[in-house]
C-alpha cells in the first residue's frame, strides 16, 4: 500500500521562475507538488515547454528554485548552501541526459568520464581500484573493459547512453533523474536501454524520475505518472490508470495523439482536442485526490465532475 512505502522525495509547491521581476518573466515550473516513493519509477510527461525538464533540473539543484521545498531523504535540499552540502547531496542523486552525443566530453577517455565522480568523491583507494571500479561499471551496463580506453566518438548512440548510465552509477546514487534518456536513440536500441535501466533498478534499488514525451515508453517504465502542462502538474496517478482512464481533458488529448503501431486502430483514431483556455479562467485550482492515489488539478466546482468521471471509469464507487 502506498502509504507504507517510504517517500524518498517530496516536492512541495516548487516554483522555478526565470527573469524574476522583469517584463519577460517565465514561470517554467509553477507550484508543482508530488512525492516519489523509494524504488519506484515516477514518469513526468508533457510537451516541450511544459516545464518537465526544468522541474528535473531544479530538483537536482542545477537551478536555484524560486520557491518551494524539495525534501530528499528527509532533508530540504532546496536550501542547501555551500560546496560541501551540495557535494554530499549529488552523491545521492545523479542524472542521465537526453543527448548522448552532447553529454560526454569528446576529449576524455571513457574511463575518465566514468571515473570523474569516483575521483571527485574520492571513492577509489588507488589507481588499480579505480580501474577495477570502472571496468565493473562498464560491465554492469553491458559494455566491456576494452572500451575504457576509447573516446566517445568511437561509440554508437546506444553505447554512449550506456556510458552515461555507467557515469551516473559510479557514485552509487539512490536516485536518478533520467531526462529523455532514449529520445535520441533508434527504436531497437531504445528497448535495450530501457531494459538495462529496469534491470539496474531492481539490482541496485534505484529510484527513477523518468522525464519523457514518448508516452508509450513512459507508461511502460513508470509505476506512477505526472502529466505537466504550462508549468503545472494537471494529473498524477498510477501509470495504468492515467493511461487507461485519464480524468483530465489535457491528459485525454495527449494520449489520443499518440500514434499506435496498428493500422486498423489508426484508421479509426479519434483525436480529442484540448481547449487550453480552460486552465486560464482565473479559478483557484489545487490537486484533489479523486480516486485513491489519483490526483487531478481541479477547482472546487470541478471536483464533482472529475469524481463522476472516475465513477464512470470504474475507478471508484459512489
Amino acid at each position: 500500500m502506498p502509504d507504507e512505502r517510504k517517500k524518498i522525495l517530496e516536492v512541495h509547491h516548487l516554483k522555478q521562475y526565470f527573469n524574476v521581476g522583469k517584463k519577460d518573466e517565465v514561470r517554467a515550473v509553477d507550484d508543482v507538488s508530488f512525492d516519489i516513493y523509494e524504488g519506484e519509477t515516477f514518469g513526468l510527461v508533457g510537451e516541450s515547454g511544459s516545464g518537465k525538464t526544468t522541474c528535473g533540473r531544479a530538483i537536482i539543484r542545477l537551478y536555484d528554485p524560486t520557491d518551494g521545498e524539495i525534501i530528499f531523504n528527509g532533508k530540504d535540499i532546496s536550501k542547501l548552501k555551500g560546496k560541501k552540502e551540495m557535494h554530499e547531496f549529488r552523491r545521492e542523486m545523479q542524472m542521465i541526459f537526453q543527448d548522448p552525443y552532447a553529454s560526454l566530453n569528446p576529449r576524455m577517455k571513457v574511463k575518465d568520464i566514468v571515473a570523474e565522480g569516483i575521483d571527485i568523491h574520492g571513492l577509489a583507494k588507488d589507481d588499480a581500484d579505480r580501474t577495477k571500479q570502472v571496468e565493473d561499471l562498464l560491465e554492469t551496463v553491458g559494455l566491456n573493459k576494452d572500451h575504457s580506453s576509447r573516446y566517445p566518438h568511437e561509440f554508437s548512440g546506444g553505447q554512449r547512453q550506456r556510458i552515461g548510465i555507467a557515469r551516473a552509477l559510479a557514485v552509487e546514487p539512490k536516485f536518478i533523474i533520467a531526462d529523455e534518456p532514449i529520445s535520441a536513440l533508434d527504436v531497437s536500441i531504445q528497448a535495450q536501454v530501457v531494459n538495462l535501466m529496469k534491470e539496474l533498478q531492481v539490482k541496485q534499488n534505484l529510484t527513477y524520475l523518468f522525464i519523457a514525451h514518448d508516452l508509450s515508453m513512459v507508461k511502460y517504465i513508470s509505476d506512477r505518472i505526472g502529466v505537466m502542462h504550462y508549468g503545472k502538474i494537471l494529473e498524477i496517478g498510477p501509470a495504468d490508470e492515467v493511461y487507461g482512464h485519464p480524468l483530465h481533458d489535457y491528459t485525454k488529448s495527449l494520449i489520443s495523439a499518440v500514434p499506435v503501431p496498428d493500422p486498423e486502430f489508426e484508421r479509426n483514431r479519434k483525436q480529442v482536442a484540448y481547449d487550453e483556455t480552460a486552465e486560464m479562467d482565473g479559478k483557484k485550482r489545487r490537486m484533489v485526490e479523486i480516486a485513491p492515489g489519483h490526483f487531478v488539478r481541479a477547482a472546487e466546482d470541478e471536483v464533482a465532475m472529475y469524481t463522476q468521471r472516475a465513477v464512470d471509469a470504474g475507478l471508484i464507487t459512489e
Partner: protein, 358 residues
C-alpha cells in the same frame, strides 16, 4: 515505365560513399516503385539508408557519394543522368522535400511569405505580387492563423509546429507530383505531430501528390502509409501494404521492430529488444545482414543472400525462412497475435473483393 501508375521507379540502386576509412556501401541494390497518389513509408534505423535513398531522388547526395549502379526513372527519364541544372528545374517543382528540422530548413533572414513565393517565381515565372498572393493562400491552407498578419514575419517568430507548416507550404506551393517527407514530425510533440500528419493527408487528397514518408516511428507509419518498405543495412528487406507489414510480417527484422515497441497496452516484463547493433557498411556481412542479430538465423543466412520471396501479389520479403525447405518457426508472441488478427481481417473481406471484381 513498367507500370503506367508508377510515378517513380527505382531499379537496382547502389550508392557508395568514399570515406577515409574506405568505401561505405550505403545503398545495396534497392528497387521500389512509387504509385500515383499513394503514401509509401520507408522505415529503418539510422544508417539503414532510407535518407540516402530519397536524397538520391532529389539529386542531393553529398559530394563523396557515388552512384555505382541502377536507375531512377521519373517521367521516362533517368534522374541519375540529369545535370545539376536540369535537376534545379525538377527540385521543388515536380519533386519537393520536407526535412526533419524546421529551423534549419528555413532561411532565418528571409520573411516567410517570400520563402513560400520563391519557388513560384523561380519555377512558374510568376511576378512577385502574384506569387505573394498565392503564398498567402498556401498559408491559409496549412492552417496558419491570421496569415495576412504573419506573412511578413521571420521564422524565429513561429513555434516548431508552425515552422513545419511553413516548410510544408513551401514544399507544396508548386503542387509537386512527389513529396518526400524525411522524418517531418520527429522534432515535434505528439499533439502537434498529429496536426501535421492530418494536414499532410488532407493536402495529399486535395492535390493528389505521391508521398514518400521516411520515419522510424512505426506508429506514424501505421497511420500514414498505404505501403511500407522496411530497410536494413542498405537494403529493402520487406515490403507490402501497411496491413501486410503490420499484421503479417515475415522478416525477422520486421518482427524485431514491431516487437521492441511498447504499445499502450504493454504490461510489465522486459521489452524484447533487438540485441546488438547494425553492421558496419564499410564491410557488409555476407548473406542476410540481419543474421548476426536474429534469433531465427540459419546456416544459409551467413552464406548466401536471401532473394525476395513472394508472400502475396503486393507483399515480398527477403528472408530464407520463406524458402519452401526452411523449417517452420514460431515468431514472437506479439507477431503471432498480429498474424491472427490478419487472418481474421482477411475472412470478412474476401466476399466483398470478389464482388467488386465483376
Amino acid at each position: 515505365m513498367e507500370n503506367p501508375e508508377n510515378v517513380i521507379e527505382v531499379r537496382n540502386l547502389e550508392i557508395n560513399f568514399h570515406t577515409y576509412a574506405g568505401e561505405v556501401k550505403a545503398i545495396r541494390d534497392v528497387s521500389f516503385d512509387l504509385r500515383k497518389g499513394e503514401t509509401l513509408a520507408i522505415v529503418g534505423e539510422s544508417g539503414s539508408g532510407k535518407s540516402v535513398t530519397t536524397r538520391s531522388l532529389m539529386g542531393l547526395l553529398a559530394p563523396n557519394a557515388e552512384i555505382k549502379k541502377g536507375s531512377i526513372m521519373f517521367h521516362g527519364d533517368d534522374i541519375i543522368k540529369k545535370s545539376e541544372k536540369e535537376m534545379q528545374h525538377i527540385r521543388g517543382k515536380d519533386i519537393a522535400m520536407i526535412f526533419q528540422d524546421p529551423m534549419t530548413s528555413l532561411d532565418p533572414t528571409m520573411r516567410i511569405g517570400m520563402q513560400i513565393a520563391e519557388p513560384l517565381m523561380k519555377h512558374k515565372g510568376l511576378k512577385k505580387k502574384e506569387a505573394i498572393a498565392q503564398a498567402l493562400e498556401m498559408l491559409k491552407l496549412v492552417g496558419i492563423t491570421n496569415p495576412e498578419g504573419r506573412i511578413n514575419d521571420y521564422p524565429y517568430q513561429f513555434s516548431g509546429g508552425m515552422r513545419q507548416r511553413i516548410v510544408i507550404a513551401i514544399a507544396l506551393v508548386c503542387y509537386p507530383e512527389v513529396l518526400i517527407a524525411d522524418e517531418p514530425t520527429t522534432a515535434l510533440d505528439v499533439t502537434i505531430q498529429a496536426q501535421i500528419l492530418d494536414l499532410m493527408k488532407d493536402l495529399q487528397n486535395r492535390i493528389d501528390t505521391s508521398i514518400i514518408f521516411i520515419t522510424h516511428d512505426l506508429g506514424v507509419v501505421a497511420g500514414m502509409a498505404d505501403r511500407v518498405a522496411v530497410m536494413y543495412a542498405g537494403k529493402i528487406v520487406e515490403y507490402g501494404t501497411v496491413d501486410e507489414i503490420f499484421f503479417n510480417p515475415q522478416h525477422p527484422y520486421t518482427w524485431g521492430l514491431l516487437n521492441s515497441m511498447p504499445t499502450l497496452d504493454t504490461e510489465g516484463g522486459s521489452l524484447s529488444a533487438i540485441p546488438g547493433t547494425p553492421p558496419d557498411l564499410l564491410d557488409p556481412p555476407v548473406g542476410d545482414a540481419f543474421a548476426a542479430r536474429s534469433d531465427y538465423a540459419m546456416k544459409i543466412d551467413t552464406q548466401q543472400e536471401p532473394p525476395f520471396f513472394k508472400v502475396s501479389d503486393t507483399h515480398y520479403a527477403a528472408t530464407w525462412l520463406l524458402h519452401p525447405d526452411a523449417p517452420k518457426v514460431t515468431p514472437p508472441a506479439e507477431i503471432v497475435r498480429r498474424q491472427q488478427k490478419f487472418a481474421a481481417m482477411q475472412k470478412p473481406e474476401a466476399p466483398i473483393k470478389s464482388d467488386t471484381k465483376e
